[in-house]
Each structure stands twice: as C-alpha cells, then as structure tokens.
C-alpha cells in the first residue's frame, strides 16, 4: 500500500519531498507574506506618517515655501537665517530649561513617590495613591489648565492667597517673564510624574528582597541600602524614564500653550510652539522645516549620547 501510495504521488508532491527549492520557497514565501501582512499596518503607518514627512521636511528646509506657490530651492539660506533669529535663541533657551527641569523634577518626584508607595501599606492605600498620582496623566490638559490658571491668578489665585497669608509678595505667575516659565514647569511636572512613577514602582517591586535583607544583616542602613542596592537595581527604569522625559520635554507644547500661550512675549515659548507659529501663522514652511530638522538632530544626538553613556551607569541584564 505504502509503495503504491508513494508512487501515486503527484510529481509536484514528489518534487516537494525531494526538497526542490522552488516548492519549499513558495511555502516560505507564503509565511513571509503573512508576516509582512501583519506588520504592514505599522510599516505603512511609519512610511506615511513618519518617514515621508521627515524626508519632506528635510527637502522643504532647503526651500522657500509659502504653501501657495511651488517651493523654491534656496540651499542653506534657512539654516543661515537661524543664526540671526533672536526669537529662535529665546525659544531654544526656554526649551533647554524645560528639559533640565523635567529631567530633575519629574524623575526626582516620581522616584520619591514610587519609594513612598512601595512601603508596606494596606493594598487599598497603595492603589489609591498610585491612581491619584497617575491621574493627571489621563486628564486632558486643556480642561485642567482652566483650574491651573485659576490657581495661578495674581489677585484671586489660591497660590497667592497662601503666599500672601504667609507674608510673601503676590507673584504674577502667568504674566511675568520669570514666573511664567516656573508655572509651566510646575504644571508639566505635575502632569508627567505619574507615568514615570509607575515605571519606578514596577522596577522597585523587582528588586530582590533577599539582597536587601542580606545588606541589612551586613549592617547597611536604609540610605545605604537605597543608594547601593535599590538605585543600581532600578537603573534600567531610570534610564528609560530619563530618555522619555528628555524627548518629551524637547517637544513641550501643550503645557505651555494652555497656560501662557508662550507669553509674555516669548518668555515661556518653546521651540515647537515657535515652529508651529512660523509654519501655520506666517506660512513660512521652509524656515519652519529647517528649525524642525535642527530640533530632530538635537534630540537624536542627545538620545545617542545617552545610549553611549548607558554602559557606565546602567546595571545590565
């Protein structure tokens, strides 16, 4: 029977059994196609929404383009123009300040809250605090900004009410060139620390208890345990958080626009806001693209540098 069956096999099947490459590759090809089909949405999305615009922006940055007439090639004029643009210098300065503040404050507070939440607390309390700190991240900033603006009001705001009550001077949170930046940093920190905190909490729970116990037995105090054991053990989470906050802070937009609209003047304006203004108010797409390209390069360099430095302080797998 078996031999009959075997001889009765179609030539194609026989070829397949003999391992003829074209047959096998057709199976493989189908597998591959299925694979591509599954990844296609992401790849197509990336091509259309990321790579395409990126290439377009690089091209447009070399042109003068006002949307209405065809782009005109101008070489590196737009890039040269950046060096005499005081407003760009101001907005970049503000952005760097926001990045610095975000890295320090968001990560500092997030870690602090994560450690506090990670203490032995009743389960319900843990959930409550975790949700409470994460909540700002879920609420649309546009709505919350109305409340923040009320809190920040010079004459009627609750912040100044307490400051004045303690004998301090009323601060013009939103309309002074110094404090408008501070207000933005406060709201930005308040909004983003919940997310970073969650990452830290997850990492803290992964720290092996035996190791901590062992250190304690060896006579390490709480600070030493935290400094020598916990911090190195969660360094991957720290790395992730710092990278994300830096990228996020370079692109800060919403927190500023809803609070101060960049004002007074340009005092709290971020680079991304300035790009949007040049592109969609002045219709100077070429120049806007050039600024966007520089921002892209800066973020890329900073991120690359971080990955380079990673080895020196991140406790690896």
């Amino acid at each position: 029977m078996t031999t009959t069956t075997r001889t009765n096999l179609s030539p194609a099947a026989l070829e397949a059994r003999r391992g003829r490459p074209d047959r096998l590759s057709s199976v493989k090809r189908r597998d591959a196609l299925t694979g591509y089909a599954f990844t296609a949405p992401t790849i197509i999305g990336f091509l259309i929404f990321v790579l395409g615009p990126l290439i377009a922006a690089i091209y447009l940055s070399l042109t003068k383009y006002n949307i209405l007439t065809a782009p005109k090639f101008v070489g590196f004029d737009n890039y040269a123009r950046m060096f005499r643009d005081e407003r760009l210098a101001t907005t970049y300065g503000n952005t760097v300040l926001y990045v610095g503040a975000a890295v320090v404050l968001i990560n500092g507070f997030a870690l602090l809250f994560a450690v506090l939440i990670n203490q032995k607390l009743p389960k319900a309390m843990t959930y409550f605090f975790r949700s409470a700190y994460f909540f700002p991240y879920l609420v649309a900033l546009v709505y919350v900004s109305i409340i923040w603006q009320a809190l920040f009001q010079k004459d009627t705001g609750i912040l100044n009410y307490y400051i004045a009550g303690l004998g301090g001077e009323r601060i013009d949170w939103l309309n002074s060139s110094e404090f408008s930046k501070v207000s933005v940093v406060i709201v930005d920190t308040w909004r983003n620390l919940g997310f970073a905190m969650l990452i830290y909490v997850a990492a803290l729970q992964e720290v092996p208890k035996e190791m901590v116990e062992a250190a304690r037995v060896d006579g390490a105090n709480e600070w030493q345990v935290f400094r020598r054991i916990v911090l190195p053990m969660i360094s991957q989470a720290t790395f992730f958080n710092i990278t994300i906050t830096i990228i996020g802070a370079f692109q800060i937009y919403e927190s500023v626009i809803v609070l101060t609209r960049g004002g007074p003047g340009d005092a709290s304006r971020s680079v991304v806001m300035y790009i949007a203004e040049v592109a969609f108010n002045k219709f100077d797409m070429g120049y806007a693209s050039a600024i966007a390209v520089t921002l892209f390069i800066i973020i890329m360099l900073v991120t690359l540098a971080q990955f380079r430095l990673r080895k020196s302080w991140v406790n690896n797998e």
């Binding site: 209405l68 013009d172 309309n175 002074s176 060139s177 004002g263 007074p264 003047g265 219709f283």
Partner: protein, 433 residues
C-alpha cells in the same frame, strides 16, 4: 474680543484663500467694463458658494439673505459656508479642504485686515463693471461714505463692497459719571482730561475695586491711541514698519502707565473689558459698535459714547467688513446679485439691529432704530469722518501677533525699546518675504 477674532479670521481667511485661487483653474470671468448691465435671468440654474464667518447673530443675518436670494432665483443653490467663531485654525482647515475639493467660494467675506493680502495676490475680481453699469449699485454706492470704499480700491479699481464697519470710541458709564459729579467732556477732550477723569473714577480695593478705564487690549483697540498721537504701526503706504517710531514708543509707554503707574486700568491679561464695563467695575472702556449687542442682552443701558481723546490729533481707527467676488468664480453675475443683497438696506438694518457693527450706508446708520440708544449713537457713523483704516499690510498675520507680543512684554515690565525693536525685526523680515 469679538473684533480680535474677526480680524484674525480675516487675515487667515485671506491667507488660506490664496491657496483657493492657486487651485481655481484658468477660467476668469471679469465683468464687462462697458455696456449696460443685465442681471442674470430669474430662471437660471446654478450653484454659488459663499464663505462667511461670525457668531450666531451673524449667521441669522446671512441665512436670511440666502433665503431672500432663493426667492429671487429659485433655481440657484447657495452654498452658505458659514464658519462659527471657534479657532482660526478651524477656519483655515475648512477653506483648505474646500479648495482641495475644487470648490473655491464665489463670494468671499473679508475685513480690512485681510484685504491687502487678497489684493496683493490678485484674489478678487474687479467690481468696476458692475459698479459703473448697474443702477442699483450706483444708489448703494452713493449712500456709502467714500472713505469706506477707498480702503477697498487698488489702482483705481474697486474690489470689495463694504457691508458694515466699526470705529473705536470711548464708552462711559453715565450713572457713575453722574454720581461722581463729572460732566460729559467736550468732543475735543484730550489725553490729560481722560486721565484726570479716569483717576477720579478709580476707587475702592479688593473685591470693591472699580477702575476708571478698562483697556481694550488688542491691536485694533490700541491703535486709536497711536493715531491720536499722530503715529501708526505702518507707514501710510503700508510698505514699511514704524514700530520703532519714537512717537509710537511714547504712546505705548503712556498706555502701559495707565495700568502700571496710574493704576486706572486693571492688568489687561485675564480681565475682559467688556465684562468689567457693563458690570460697573470700570467706568470707561474703548470699543467699536460691536459690544452694544452684548450690553443689550445683559440688560445694561447706563452708557453713552464719546470720541477718542486726543494727544496731538483727533483720530481713531476703523475696520470694515466687505464682500468680494473670487477671480475664479464661474458665476460672477449671480455672485454680484448676492453681494448686492448682502449689502442692501434690508440687510443693513438687520446688522444694525444685531448690534454687531455699524451699517455702511448712511441711510441705515441714521435710521431711528439705530440712533435710539445710546444718546450719542450718531457718533458711531460720524467718527468715520476722522478715522483712519487699521494699518493692515499684506503681512498683517505677522504684524498683529508681533505687536501684541511686544505689548505683553511691556505690560510685564520689560523695556519698551527692546520689546518693540524685536517686534520690528519680525515684521521687517515678513515684509521682505
């Protein structure tokens, strides 16, 4: 703040409309300059599209016109594209989408602030043929102050028909004046008179604080101070920025001092003069006619108006709304008929009733209903005689935010010189483009 939105929208609309023309195709049908005008036949079948913006009150007026037009031309479909005031981005996106679909509007509603943008880019069709040969147009035109039409001319041709305008005047609370024993000042009052009155009317503190003057804090509202001190943001031909003019700096410093030195005005950020004034929290404010509708609705009527005080020159600012026919319109005749209806006496009266602006014809502006309140309502139309148009070059979309950024800085205590120098650079860069 209504005017601010209006002007921003106007600017943006004009900017977006270049795109429309760019996509509009080669067909241009300019009306004949000679020969008698014949209106399109009553049974003509066509579609015209209109681009309008405003608030619900404006929309009611436009809808009414569209309905009336339908009676006259039953087979003409009017696509009444009305954009409620939300954000300017929305308005642009809407126009861009329209353009992409090949539906550039035939009739374009735009304000003084956007007219130069449109003219520079040859967006509008000349109305000369209609104005010359259509008898209806002649009577309408003769009823409109020539000044209003002058703003819409280029090289001797007229491109837009105004429907309404606003001039800035001073509003004062008659009751508060009476209680303080202050007489209505003369029509030739000066900045000093103004400041003295404002100081006298600034009283109380904390929750009971009442200010002498609530500052209208937007370009159109600050401009009368500039004009009445003999300066402007732009040169008369709108070709050069004058933001660094010493006279302008002097004026801006004086306006700032109202808030920071004399304390007769509240910090403009976060306070709306058109809330403070009817609430009795400010004895005076500056505004166009556009606030009267809101005052009426709020049941506030203890006010009257005065000309803007002068420093060196008696002057104020005006801005007009107007309609143009798109150069790419396939139905200029019907568009013209529609514009006539948008600007005729019947519609003008509706505008006056809505309290959104001053109607552009003398007839409508001198109707008893229009003059009923406030007492010196005549000044609304009269102020046009000494008013200058808002300085709106093609780059108004850069000038307006740059000037207000400088004002914000100055109000927050930064130097007048450096703030205006920065704004000036921004504007000069844009004028070069």
């Amino acid at each position: 703040m209504r005017k601010t939105l209006r002007t921003t929208l106007a600017t943006v609309a004009a900017s977006a409309l270049f795109l429309l023309t760019a996509c509009g195709g080669p067909e241009t049908s300019t009306p004949a300059a000679d020969g008698p005008y014949t209106a399109p036949a009553k049974d003509v079948t066509a579609t015209i599209s209109v681009s309008n913006w405003g608030d619900p009150g404006d929309k009611a007026v436009y809808d009414e016109v569209a309905a009336r037009f339908k009676e006259k031309y039953p087979n003409v479909t009017v696509n009444n594209n009305f954009t409620p005031i939300t954000t300017w981005t929305d308005y642009v996106n809407k126009l861009v989408t329209q353009a992409a679909a090949g539906q550039a509007p035939d009739v374009i509603n735009i304000a003084t602030e956007g007219v130069q943008l449109g003219l520079k880019n040859e967006l509008f069709a000349s109305l000369d043929g209609f104005l010359k040969n259509d008898p209806d147009a002649k009577s309408l035109q003769n009823d409109i102050d020539p000044k209003l039409l002058d703003g819409f001319r280029k090289d001797g041709s007229t491109y837009l028909m105004p429907n309404t305008f606003n001039t800035m005047v001073i509003y004062y609370n008659t009751k508060m004046f009476k209680e303080a024993g202050i007489q209505r000042p003369s029509d030739d009052w000066t900045w000093d008179d103004f400041l003295a009155i404002a100081k006298k009317l600034t009283t109380g503190s904390g929750a009971n604080k009442v200010y002498g003057f609530a500052l209208p804090y937007y370009t159109f509202g600050i401009t009368p101070w500039l004009y009445s001190n003999g300066t402007s943001m732009m040169s008369d031909d709108l070709q050069a920025s004058k933001l660094t003019d010493p006279k302008l700096k002097e004026t801006v410093a004086w306006v700032r001092d109202l808030v920071t030195k004399h304390g007769v005005s509240p910090q403009p950020k976060g306070s709306d003069p058109y809330q403070l004034f009817p609430a009795g929290k400010a004895a005076m404010t500056g505004a166009g006619h556009f606030v009267t509708g809101g005052f009426k609705k709020a049941g506030f009527s203890d006010y009257d108006i005065l000309p803007w005080p002068k420093s060196t020159t008696k002057a104020t600012v005006y801005g007009a709304g107007a309609f143009a026919i798109s150069k790419t319109s396939k139905n200029p005749g019907l568009s013209w008929e529609f514009i006539k209806m948008l600007t005729d006496q019947q519609t003008q009266k509706k505008w006056a009733d809505a309290g959104a602006a001053v109607p552009s014809t003398k007839t409508a502006a001198s109707a008893p209903e229009f003059l009923a309140s406030p007492e010196h309502a005549k000044e609304f139309y009269n102020s046009l005689s000494y008013a200058k148009p808002v300085a709106a070059p093609g780059a108004y979309n850069v000038l307006d935010p740059a000037f207000m950024r400088a004002m914000d800085e100055i109000m927050s205590g930064q130097s007048v010189d450096s703030s205006l120098d920065k704004a000036n650079k921004d504007v000069e860069e844009a004028l070069k483009q």
